[in-house]
């Protein structure tokens, strides 16, 4: 009796179950493959100060075939984390993980916030194996925007035109926590008309450092002054980077110095969305000043 039941079970599976490797079991034609559901973590700075970067990110992701959703969000918790407030950090991490739990990927136009989610969330719950497991799974789904396009989606070119001489600042967290260096340069190379002129020490900190910029304003100023002098020395007309914190710091300093350098998030250029005024410029001063 038992043996019959076993055979019935064995025979109930299609023959392919036994001859095909597991990953080929369900073959879905490419055109009907569901779009990856990408939760955009806009970051608090983009949400509050520069929504155009968020819309540029949406465009880049949709052009690359993603379904973009924007769950209700506040902050990844990094300011609390770096201020030593573990309790608040954990609360915010749990809030983010809950808000984005239905997403295949979580993508942010920032190496800093992505570094927080991808590298530091798991550290927060080492004493709670169940949440640690959730955090690990969540962290594996988090990506910085530009490297997500190139490394995960395989994007090699973008359809944008920007006939300017630009220089690119490597923001620290993206560079050193996520190895983002070649990816933005690769995509910028495909922007029509764009010339990339490297500044010296493009991988050196701009002096932002979150609350550091306010707590140690003198030090931060000394570091950003060194940075803007390298930007100016490069001779580029436009300064790009992948993190709004660094960009606001450098743009704020260049504006105070009275320098006419256009400062933008790299996503704006890659998405061909440079119609808004650059960072720290008057709204009347639209981009593409030629």
């Amino acid at each position: 009796m038992k043996r019959t039941r076993l055979w019935a079970t064995v025979l109930s599976f299609p023959i392919s179950f036994y001859v095909l490797p597991p990953h080929e079991m369900t073959i879905v034609p490419a055109e009907t493959k569901p779009k990856p559901r990408v939760g955009l973590f806009a970051t608090c700075l983009v949400d509050l100060f520069r929504p155009s970067v968020g819309f540029a990110a949406v465009k880049l992701l949709e052009d690359a075939g993603c379904l973009v959703v924007v769950p209700s969000q506040t902050c990844c918790g990094q300011p609390a984390f770096n201020s030593g407030d573990r309790t608040t950090t954990r609360d915010l991490a749990l809030q983010v993980m809950e808000a984005f739990k239905d997403c295949d990927y979580i993508v942010a136009p920032s190496g800093s916030c992505t570094g927080m989610m991808a590298k530091h969330y798991p550290e927060l719950f080492l004493d709670d194996p169940d949440i640690a497991n959730l955090a690990n799974n969540f962290a594996a789904k988090c990506h910085e925007l530009v490297s997500f396009l190139t490394d995960v989606l395989g994007v090699t070119t973008v359809a944008a035109t920007f006939p300017r001489n630009v220089t690119y600042h490597d923001s620290c967290s993206g560079l050193r926590e996520l190895n983002i260096q070649s990816q933005p340069r690769k995509l910028l190379a495909s922007v029509e008309g764009l010339t990339l002129t490297e500044m010296k020490d493009s991988d050196v900190c701009c002096g932002f450092g979150g609350t550091f910029a306010v707590k140690y304003g003198d030090l931060s100023n000394a570091i950003v002054t060194e940075k803007t002098s390298q930007v100016l020395h490069s001779g580029a007309q436009v300064l790009l980077a992948g993190d709004l914190g660094c960009l606001m710091n450098m743009a704020g300093k260049l504006a105070r110095q009275g320098k006419d350098i256009e400062v933008r998030h790299v996503a704006e250029v890659l998405a061909g969305m440079t119609q808004d005024a650059p960072i720290a410029a008057a709204p009347s001063d639209k981009g593409q000043r030629s």
Binding site: V70, G77, G84, L92, G217, N221
Partner: protein, 483 residues
């Protein structure tokens, strides 16, 4: 007895440093020279990254078995005719050294470069006992005659220009012709060499630090570029090694592994000019060497770091790469940190040794750019350890009240997404209207830390989330199109 600190005045120290034009000129050299040389040295050695891993593993292994290796080391020093003195703190270490010097009736004591001797305030203790300590490393000699402390752990006088040094030499070496030419660095070097040669010959006791202590042989290793360490330890009748307990490595093979990353990380040399081992006093058939050999092993807070979240800091091999690559160090130099150890390693180690109440600024004065960790030869996660200090400060309510209040207010909103969206939508609207004309603010209430030296970009207008949700709502409200 430990060195007094000015770390609580860190902010005032940095302002002074930023306004010091001579210091800024001297720091210009640090900003690139060390960095380029290290990068070239690392690039020349294909296995450099693997060596960093193995250096880290050696140190981790030692820290996990430190008691065992200390005992082995002591046994082997004793077997070779030397004596080990354990010192729990700075006072005990100074007492032990002064005691050894006095027992020999010493008058002049030469010293090789040693950061732990700075940490315990050894020179002051030797002077207080009526003896004359003479620093023999050129950089250390310069700062000794200036009455200063080192501003860098491997280049103690890096904060000075050669013109300042020339002026100091004229002021101190008054027996030399006043009209002599001291413009070339070589002339400064040769003058110091002439002065120091006499001191070496006159010294009764020679004190060196140790880059490593080797458990299996009871040897100590120093690496130098001037050879002053050799003259310090060979010529006098007594050689005292002073080292902190975490300098132990198990074997000569392990020491060789660490040497391969040490100089490359520090100065970009494959090896320093001199690598000197010393094992016990002179044996019967040795051509030279001291009659007595002592090792003073200093704890001074380190054993309390074992097993704590700061244990990884004890891997440090004192190469200085972290400060060489630190934007904060580049901006203000080492003295601003206010105690013996500057830069990122100091920002972690100093609170461990003198207390976070005293040195609380140091782990906070970092952008967490992570460049220090990326070059550390033993892969110490310096930003993470600085963050642990911030956590301790936060727990103990040591962080400034204004920062805590600001953070608390922000956290209140950040934990309530609906309230957050409502208030930020209004707030950003208001700010964007205020900043519309210029797109930036020259000044705003509560932002002076930012706006004293740079403008604050104004928000574009409505928040991203508000715009996004409005657009989604509009799209959903549209009647579905049927053909």
């Amino acid at each position: 007895m430990s060195h007094a600190s000015t770390s609580p005045q860190f902010k005032a120290n940095t302002r002074k440093a930023l306004g010091d034009t001579q210091l800024q000129a001297a720091l210009g050299h640090v900003r690139h020279r060390f960095i380029d040389k290290r990068a070239q040295a690392a690039a020349r050695l294909p296995e450099f990254e693997a060596l960093r891993d193995s250096a880290r593993d050696i140190k981790d292994h030692v820290l996990a078995h430190l008691d065992l290796y200390l005992e082995t080391y002591e046994a082997n020093v004793t077997a070779s005719g030397g004596k080990v003195h354990f010192a729990r703190n700075a006072q005990e270490a100074c007492d032990a050294i002064v005691g050894i010097c006095q027992a020999r009736g010493a008058k002049t004591v030469t010293k090789g470069k040693s950061m732990v001797s700075e940490e315990i305030g050894l020179n002051a203790a030797i002077e207080a006992a009526g003896m004359v300590p003479v620093e023999t490393d050129l950089g250390e000699y310069i700062i000794q005659i200036r009455g200063e402390t080192p501003s860098h752990i491997i280049a103690p006088a890096v904060h000075l220009t050669k013109e300042q040094v020339a002026a100091d030499f004229r002021h101190t070496h008054r027996h030399l012709p006043a009209q002599r030419d001291l413009t070339a660095p070589e002339s400064l070097l040769s003058e110091a060499r002439g002065i120091l040669r006499e001191k070496f010959l006159a010294a009764d006791v020679g004190i060196t630090g140790a880059n490593m202590l080797i458990a299996e042989t009871g040897s100590s290793i120093i690496v130098t570029n001037e050879g002053n360490g050799d003259l310090t330890q060979i010529l006098p009748k007594v050689h005292i090694v002073i080292a902190s307990i975490e300098k132990i490595v198990p074997t000569l093979e392990d020491a060789a592994q660490i040497l391969r990353v040490l100089a490359r990380s520090a100065t970009g040399q494959d090896m320093t000019v001199y690598t000197t081992l010393s094992t016990g006093p002179r044996r019967a058939d040795d051509p030279d060497g001291p009659e007595e050999y002592h090792v003073v092993l200093v704890d001074n807070g380190r054993s309390a770091m074992l097993g704590s979240e700061f244990e990884e800091m004890l891997r440090c091999i004192r190469c200085g790469a972290c400060m060489n690559h630190c934007p904060v160090y580049h901006a203000v130099g080492g003295h601003a940190y206010g105690w013996v150890y500057p830069g990122p390693m100091g920002a972690v180690l100093t609170p461990s040794l003198i207390g976070v109440d005293e040195a609380g600024h140091l782990p906070n004065a970092s952008t967490f750019c992570g460049r220090c960790e990326s070059v550390c030869p033993v892969r110490i996660p310096l930003p993470k350890l600085m963050r642990h200090w911030r956590e301790r400060e936060f727990e103990r309510h040591l962080s400034p009240a204004t920062i805590r209040a600001g953070l608390g207010l922000w956290a209140f909103f950040a934990k309530r997404p609906v309230l957050y969206r409502f208030s930020t939508t209004l707030g950003m609207r208001l700010l964007s209207i205020m900043g519309r004309a210029k797109g930036r603010f020259h000044w705003l209430p509560f932002t002076s830390g930012w706006t004293q030296s740079r403008d604050l970009p104004a928000p574009q207008g409505e928040t991203f989330q508000a715009q996004w949700h409005r657009a989604q709502k509009a799209a959903n409200a549209k009647p579905s199109v049927t053909s």
